[in-house]
Symmetry: C2
Subunit: 140 residues, 2 copies
DNA sequence: ATGGGTGCAAAGGATTTGCAACATT
DNA sequence: AATGTTGCAAATCCTTTGCACCCAT
């Protein structure tokens, strides 16, 4: 997994037009380096001991800010939790109904074409969500 | 818009394995006859004066029950509201970020193929969500 | 010193749950 | 009678907000 330096992360934040504070660098670093789909709570628990000072409020506010600046995306695949994705490239998601694991998949090519063909609508985001049961849960 | 008789609605409920009470018939009728994507609150406001007795709690519980029995589907296109769709055929949704209107679209054919090709995962639902700005909001 | 950032505590809001009354078989 | 259904009120949970303090420029 690619590692990012604080310098790189700070530059990315400033390129996006926001200040590179310690909390933001830590949160962006976590999102970039971990190919998971964490909730704000998960990000907070992962970083609370690694960052000098960090509150759950800041994680919520920061992730929201990151979404507004296109640094991360928000997934609404499940109505019971809100999670985030540090990979903003267009891709699809599978979610296991049993273990709630979210798996990345390439987006079918035709979806990009579909987007371009939509009339009378300025699309800026597309999400393809598939739900079902993953292999591990099926075995049990 | 197709009209449904109470007899038809009751039969549909009973086919799904649940009792056809007055509240359920009214809610299912509303979902079938209105090609909108209402929240529980909207369904409640639309029916509260038309049904002898109806509570918001019952609307919540009933829509949840309907989803479990495949009578309606739940959309998670927006993280700030949960809405439902009386059309359970596979199709895509566009949502305007400004007016929050949700528009139905045919699902790109390749998505069905994509579903079949997924390995090690038993898919049972797919949602394609597109967000952007609708024509009416763009004009303003 | 000024504007933005953080974090605590409190508020907010949507949804669910406990439970008693009610309806249906 | 027994079981399922409804609806009120209360509880719950996630997220946002108000505000005082802090930091960086």
């Amino acid at each position: 997994m690619k590692q990012y330096t604080n310098i790189e992360l700070k530059a990315e934040l400033e390129n996006a037009g926001i200040r590179g504070t310690a909390q933001r660098i830590a949160i962006l670093g976590f999102m970039r380096e971990n190919p998971v789909h964490p909730t704000a709570e998960v990000v907070f628990e992962a970083l609370r001991d690694k960052v000098g000072s960090l509150s759950l409020t800041t994680v919520y506010n920061t992730l929201k800010l990151f979404v507004e600046h296109g640094l991360v995306s928000m997934l609404t695949i499940d109505d019971t939790f809100r999670c985030f994705d540090g990979n903003v490239e267009m891709h699809a998601h599978l979610m296991c109904r049993n273990c709630k694991k979210i798996i990345d998949m390439p987006m079918p090519r035709e979806v990009a074409t579909f987007l371009e063909e939509i009339e009378d609508f300025d699309a800026d985001e597309v999400q393809l969500y598939v739900k079902g049961i993953c292999k591990e849960c099926k075995i049990k």
